[in-house]
Amino acid sequence: MIKPICVYACAVLLLSLPGAPASAHPHVWVTLHSEILYASDGTVAGVRHAWRFDDMFSAYALQGISHAKKGHYSREELASLAQVNVESLKEYDYFTYARGDGKKLKFNEPVDYWLEYASPALVLHFTLPLKAPASAKALQVEVYDPTIFVDFEFAKEKPVALSGAPPQCELTVDLPHQPTPAEQARLSQLDFAPLDASSAYGEIFANKMRVTCP
């Protein structure tokens, strides 16, 4: 008698679960290059992104965009799409989460944004200025989608750069997928900021940039 109950209870549990969690999974892949911008006084001013979309999503986004030459899109032809991109990203906090010495840093609306078509992919360029310049000993910038609809991945070569940072600052880049044991060890040493307990699951896929300045 116990067995069928188990079967039934398990089945009900299984059936109840599928609809429960956020039912997203990646349909958009982004390869990112980021640059952390510093002001002349050594404070952090913002982040400049270059996001390369996967070719399928690029084709989707380009659907119906009028262009003079087949297979070519100029920056002007893509201007309205770039506008739509950054506007719709606002709702998702630009998928960019920054912390200075453990405190959340807020961004203003993006500036200097444009789309570039590098066949077969679209690249979105934009700069996120910080609301207030931050002077942090430990800066952490993460890029991820908590809903896992967009899969962010650092570019293989030179994914992150510092622009105008004080010379003694040190940059560490954490790859989300398979950190090596060495990176893991380094990560734990550099981890000044406490882990945010309320952070979403997507964070385990986060692309982390950390800058430590003495």
Binding site: M1, P4, I5, V7, Y8, A9, A11, V12, L13, L14, L15, S16, L17, P18, G19, A20, P21, A22, S23, A24, H25, P26, H27, V28, W29, F53, D54, D55, M56, F57, A59, Y60, A61, L62, Q63, G64, I65, L81, V84, N85, E87, S88, L89, E91, Y92, L124, P146, T147, I148, F149, V150, D151, A200, Y201, G202
Partner: protein
């Protein structure tokens, strides 16, 4: 006598498991969270992660195969194979389609065959809707991703609205049978009840509150395994929760008109196209391979149908198992089945509501395109 008590305990245990499942699932839905899901409830188990990785890998390889099939006809068959596998894995991940269909099957006494058919029809419809949207919007009208995203969004809203309507209708029907069952159960609760094993099978002797005595024989032929009773008055009664309640029996609900109701569930689920299919179709269109894209989309649908049908089968078996346990527990068992049905109907309504409110957001095509 012992058997009766045992069954009641069993029924109570199963009921507890069901309410627990309901409580867990509603906790996962976190309706008062932020307007967009944080995905915090994503199962972190190995299997879920594996399915997640597999479908992502299949999906990402689609673009390469579509490109390759431009020059090489045989690559098209690989594309179709991968699309089929993607469909199987895609449907195994979380999604409201199969949650809705399985809840529907738990709420209604449906056959295995009907459950499988509903799964296939809804998956086929999902693919066809994707093809029709892209064919009209992109091929004929040259619409932008933004307008296609909005079209999909409107269709989604219609789909979620329909899910709520179906859930509410089921809640009404099933809630009414629950009330009937409750009343009948209270009214017929016997003062004394005994089971005797005789040469002709199980015989139940019960004396109700009015002191009238009836003896019942278990009718195996009856769908609900009801006790066949002869009262003091010599008239025949079928002792079941519906016997005196004039409510429709589930067998009647699953009858001829059931197909029409099943179809409404299929339409509600199948109306919403998979965003993956839309993207694949538009990508294929950009490569001047729209027909190949259609083939890939239909095969994705076939893969999805197989997974959903498997889950639907599980739902039907689960319901039948519960029904078998419940039917041996006399009135309490019937009551229990009604409670399950009301629970499943409430789940459907909740799915619809959460989806419509955007708390259980699915795939958002307008994330970058407005």
């Amino acid at each position: 006598m012992r058997t009766v008590i045992d069954h009641k305990r069993v029924v109570a245990g199963t009921l507890l498991a069901f309410s627990l499942a309901l409580a867990i699932s509603s906790a996962h839905a976190a309706p008062f969270g932020p307007p967009h899901p944080t995905g915090g409830a994503w199962p972190q188990s190995g299997i879920a992660a594996w399915i997640f990785a597999q479908q992502a890998a299949f999906y990402r390889s689609l673009s390469g195969f579509i490109r390759a099939s431009k020059d090489d006809g045989s690559a098209m068959w690989s594309l179709f194979g991968i699309s089929f596998l993607y469909g199987i894995f895609h449907a195994a991940g979380p999604g409201h389609g199969k949650a809705m269909i399985s809840s529907y099957l738990v709420a209604n006494e449906e056959t295995w065959r009907r459950g499988v058919t509903l799964s296939f029809v809804s998956a086929a419809m999902q693919s066809i809707v994707a093809v029709v949207i892209v064919a009209i919007a992109a091929v004929l009208l040259g619409a932008t991703a933004k307008s296609i995203g909005w079209t999909v969004h409107l269709v989604e809203i219609a789909s979620y609205g329909l899910i709520i309507l179906i859930g509410l209708r089921l809640l009404f029907v099933k809630g009414r049978s629950l009330l009937f069952a409750l009343r009948a159960f209270r009214w017929r609760e016997p003062q004394f009840e005994a089971l005797f094993a005789t040469s002709s099978g199980l015989v139940k002797l019960s004396v109700d509150r009015n002191g009238s005595m009836s003896h019942c024989a278990l009718c195996e032929s009856d769908h609900a395994h009801a006790f066949h009773c002869h009262g003091d008055d010599g008239q025949e009664h079928h002792e079941s929760a519906w016997g005196h309640a004039h409510g429709p029996k589930p067998a009647e609900l699953a009858g001829a008109g059931g197909w029409r109701r099943g179809l409404s569930a299929v339409v509600a689920v199948g109306l919403r196209p998979c965003s993956g299919a839309i993207i694949v179709l538009i990508f294929a269109l950009a490569q001047d391979l729209f027909w190949t894209g259609i083939g890939a989309t239909l095969l994705m649908g076939l893969g999805t149908a197989i997974t959903v049908a498997a889950i639907a089968t599980l739902a039907v078996v689960a319901r039948q198992t519960a029904s078998r346990i419940a039917s041996t527990g006399s009135g309490a068992g019937m009551l229990f089945m009604r409670v399950i049905e009301v629970g499943a109907s409430a789940l459907i309504t909740a799915f619809g509501g959460l989806l419509l409110a955007g708390y259980m957001a699915s795939e958002q095509l307008w994330m970058f395109t407005g």
